[in-house]
């Protein structure tokens, strides 16, 4: 198979960059592991407010449909249940659906693999009944199945708080949110619900049960308590999914504020492999607005390299998008934006590429 642009992952970043590219008549193929598009939006029933201007505030599940539906009349081929499994010698991407494996030759590749949930280890963490908060949300909102009756949420952050509330609204008894720190970040403090108990300075010492979680030992302020629970949801944050970048010879950098290890990229989200771009949470954990905007910045540079956009138009668009990214990311968490800019500066220095003049205005804002 041959195409102009290949996108790995049909989450919000992949779908949005596909739209930006294919709406210019450029042939685009999207490869996605799942059976339908939307990535992790497919179970996000919460509202997303801080989105780029062309999107009104909407629930994640609606946004998934919005992003997928507008590709219907465009030159986009969607390969569901297909996984990128390697790279051929000529740079083609190896894709498999479990039965057949074939190469896709593309002029440009945008990797939008998103993020994976970090775990948290304690004795018994592999027992059935222990799952990530994301898994609990999938069961509840995609499968319409209650993941358990009496739940403990491990880790207090805006996502785990959101899922805790959603579980509670579906009838799950939330015994408490267990947080190892002694204080919460601003976003978590603002979200505190008095009807869900929060235990700071706490951790799980052990989960036990015959074949599944039945009781959980919790250390709270130094003393141990025994709780009866059948569900532990681990909410320990996200980190970028990196395997495709490893096999595509990209360089990596470590930025704690962006979720740890991530591919190095320039101010247009181009990696060290000049035909490979990154966008979305794979380029550093950010808000939904950031996921969508990074996809548009990458798409603009891809269009320039394919000769669809001229240099001036691309620069004008990129300048606008970076201002939007600055606005949206700093509204949610300015440290994410600063870490991103720092990693881009480092990438340019390391590779001896001057930063585009349009980017200097962004640097001045930091």
């Amino acid at each position: 198979m041959e195409t102009d642009v290949l996108i790995i992952g049909a989450g919000p970043a992949g779908l949005n960059s596909a739209y930006e590219i294919a709406s210019n008549g450029v042939q685009t193929v999207i490869v996605d592991e799942s059976f339908f598009p939307g990535g992790q939006l497919k179970q996000q029933t919460q509202y997303f407010n801080n989105l780029p201007r062309q999107f009104e505030a909407q629930r994640g599940i609606t946004l998934a449909e919005t992003l997928a539906n507008r590709l219907h009349s465009l030159p986009v081929t969607m390969l569901h249940k297909h996984t990128m499994i390697g790279v051929y010698k000529d740079g083609s991407i190896g894709v498999s659906n479990g039965e057949s494996t074939f190469p896709i030759k593309a002029k440009k590749v945008i990797v939008t693999t998103g993020a994976a949930e970090e775990t948290c280890l304690f004795p018994g963490w592999t027992l059935p009944g222990v799952m990530t908060v994301g898994a609990a949300q999938i069961l509840m909102n995609r499968e319409r199945v209650l993941p358990g009756k009496n739940a403990i949420i491990l880790g207090c952050n805006s996502f785990s708080q959101e899922v805790a509330q959603q579980l509670k609204d579906c009838g799950v008894n939330i015994l408490g949110i267990i947080e190892k720190n002694t204080s919460l970040g601003r976003e978590s403090r603002e979200r505190l619900h008095s009807d869900i108990p929060l235990l700071l300075n706490s951790y799980i010492t052990r989960a036990m049960g015959r074949g599944e979680v039945e009781k959980v030992f919790i250390n709270h302020n130094g003393s141990e308590q025994e709780w009866r629970a059948d569900l532990i949801c681990i909410g320990n944050g996200l980190s970028p999914i990196l395997e495709p970048f490893e096999i595509l010879d990209c360089s990596f950098t470590n930025k704690e504020k962006l979720g740890g290890l991530l591919p190095g990229y320039d101010s247009n989200f181009k990696t060290e492999n000049s035909s490979v771009y990154v966008a979305g949470n794979a380029a550093g954990i950010t808000c939904m607005g950031g996921v969508l905007l990074t996809a548009e910045i990458a798409a603009a540079d891809v269009l320039r390299h394919l000769g669809v956009l001229n240099r001036e138009d691309a620069a004008r668009q990129t300048t606008y998008l970076w201002k939007e990214l600055l606005r949206i990311e700093t509204q949610t968490d300015s440290e994410v934006f600063y870490a991103r800019v720092a990693s881009i500066q480092e990438f340019h220095e390391k590779n001896n590429i001057p930063l585009p003049t349009s980017f200097h205005a962004i640097l001045e804002e930091c």
């Binding site: 592991e33 799942s34 059976f35 029933t45 629930r59 599940i61 994976a116 949930e117 592999t126 027992l127 059935p128 009944g129 222990v130 799952m131 990530t132 994301g134 898994a135 999938i138 069961l139 509840m140 909102n141 995609r142 499968e143 319409r144 199945v145 209650l146 993941p147 959603q166 609204d169 579906c170 009838g171 074949g211 599944e212």
Partner: protein
């Protein structure tokens, strides 16, 4: 157990499918994954590890952690969270040693 009145989502009208788990006939809804179908029937333990005989079930629900493997129509190590349930599907827990396939793909 199903969520009957979801606080946000509309009632789905997905038709029922019948499948087999460990020889027992169970019901699921079209559009569910195997993992979702098992959890809906109150089954959390999908298998045991070969070496330490530890229980395993759904963990990440995203096809990454490999904790939810089951055997589907004789094929071992299928990700139950990434595979949709089908009418008449024979699902078995992931326990014991796998059968090494011979013939077309074996040696």
């Amino acid at each position: 157990m199903y969520i009957k009145d979801h606080p946000i989502l509309k009632k789905d009208n997905n038709h029922e499918v019948t499948f087999f788990y460990n020889g027992t006939t169970l019901k699921a809804k079209h559009g569910q994954t195997i993992a979702g179908a098992l959890m809906a029937n109150g089954i959390k333990k999908f298998g045991i590890t070969r070496k330490l005989q530890q229980s395993r079930g759904l963990y990440c629900a995203n096809g990454r952690c490999c904790s939810c493997f089951v055997t589907v129509n004789g094929l071992e190590h299928v990700l139950s969270c990434m595979t949709l349930i089908e009418d008449g599907m024979e699902v078995n827990p992931n326990s014991g040693d796998p059968d090494v396939r011979r013939g077309e793909y074996g040696n």
